[in-house]
């Protein structure tokens, strides 16, 4: 399992490194907008890694004036280096960010 996770993490890192265009904007300002993004994610095949990154608006660096990053996000599990938002459920690095970030 751990090795699977490493493989997936590497695949995500590569996609982001290679300039995958993701929907960073608009940031969901309200719960309604947040919920709409979740709905889009739920329509994806759970194995559609690229789709999740695009809809989630992933970047491989801190984001915004406050330097928001996965590390502080509510869904980030520090020790597992894992995004625990059920609609994403992917391995992530602490210095990344996506537009579903919340604390």
């Amino acid at each position: 399992m751990a090795s699977d996770k490493e493989v997936v993490l590497k695949a995500i890192a590569d996609m982001l490194e290679n300039g995958l265009k993701t929907e960073v904007e608009p940031f969901p300002e309200t719960d309604k907008e947040f919920g709409d993004i979740l709905l889009q994610l739920r329509r994806l095949d759970p194995k559609d890694l690229k789709g999740k990154l695009v809809v989630g608006g992933f970047v491989n660096h801190p984001y915004g004036p406050d330097n928001q990053r996965c590390l502080e996000c509510m869904y980030y599990l520090v020790h597992r280096r894992w995004c625990d938002l059920p609609e994403l459920a992917v391995p992530v690095e602490p210095e990344w960010w996506c537009r579903l970030w919340r604390i």
Partner: protein
Amino acid sequence: MANLLWLQGGACSGNTMSFLNAEEPSACDLVTDFGINVLWHPSLGMELGENLRKMLHALVSGAMPLDIFVFEGSVVNAPNGTGEWNRFAGRPMKDWVSDLAKVAGYTVAIGDCATWGGIPATAPNPSESEGLQFLKRKHGGFLGPTYKSKAGLPVINVPGCPAHPDWITQIVVAVATGRGGDLTLDEFQRPKTFFTSFTQTGCTRNMHFAYKVSATEYGQRKGCLFYDLGCRGPMTHSPCNRILWNRQSSKTRAGMPCMGCTEPEFPFFDLMPGTVFKTQTMMGVPKDMPLGVDKAGYIKLTAAAKAASPAWAEEDIFVV
């Protein structure tokens, strides 16, 4: 011996049902051990027949002392302030309440409907309901802001939907044993002894709150319900996790988010679309912070907590 009369207005009987779950003292103990003389209760005891009306008139005229007047349910004013949508023994219930509150030694509002209006007063409030001395946060209610019972206290508000049986029985015992004078009330006239600590005080999910691990959906065996599922435990005053429910548990322990039902605004946001069991956020930050915490502090705390979070905090803690 203290005479107690319990009436229901726009009520579901939930507080009565909760009261009947009581132990130490049980409902029967109140009568047999503490000398509470239950003059009448809509669901308990003998029918009184025509004597009910005679008794009500004797209480109103002062011929019979009314030591404790308990009211459950909202005061229904519809239609157009007449109260005809809730009639009792031949007249609007609100007229009985008005007359009885004048002669009561202590007036006790049990549950959210009687304290703040509760569910029936949710927009558009079709029954024109209000609480005895509040409508939501607004002081006044049916009896007006200056009302005091004969003992010199305003309405004693025991909120909750329903109120916990111990909150009810302990207040009744306090009054019946001559300790009514020791009751201190907060700004919403709730007994401080119950409503100063938070619902979160004693919650078994507190460690997940501290290390910022969220229960991201229902049916999980870890995580705090505040971050995603709309739990109001950190902002709500109640002893739900100090004095357990049905002697066993509490909503937050079982996995259900606190809905803040001891606060005047319940149900929060009038249940508008998108507000039920969802934490309300703005730009990724909760709109309602734990009481007394500001946004900057919250952000700092999050960073520190995440950085310090131990590995076990990410695992199921309520394991099979």
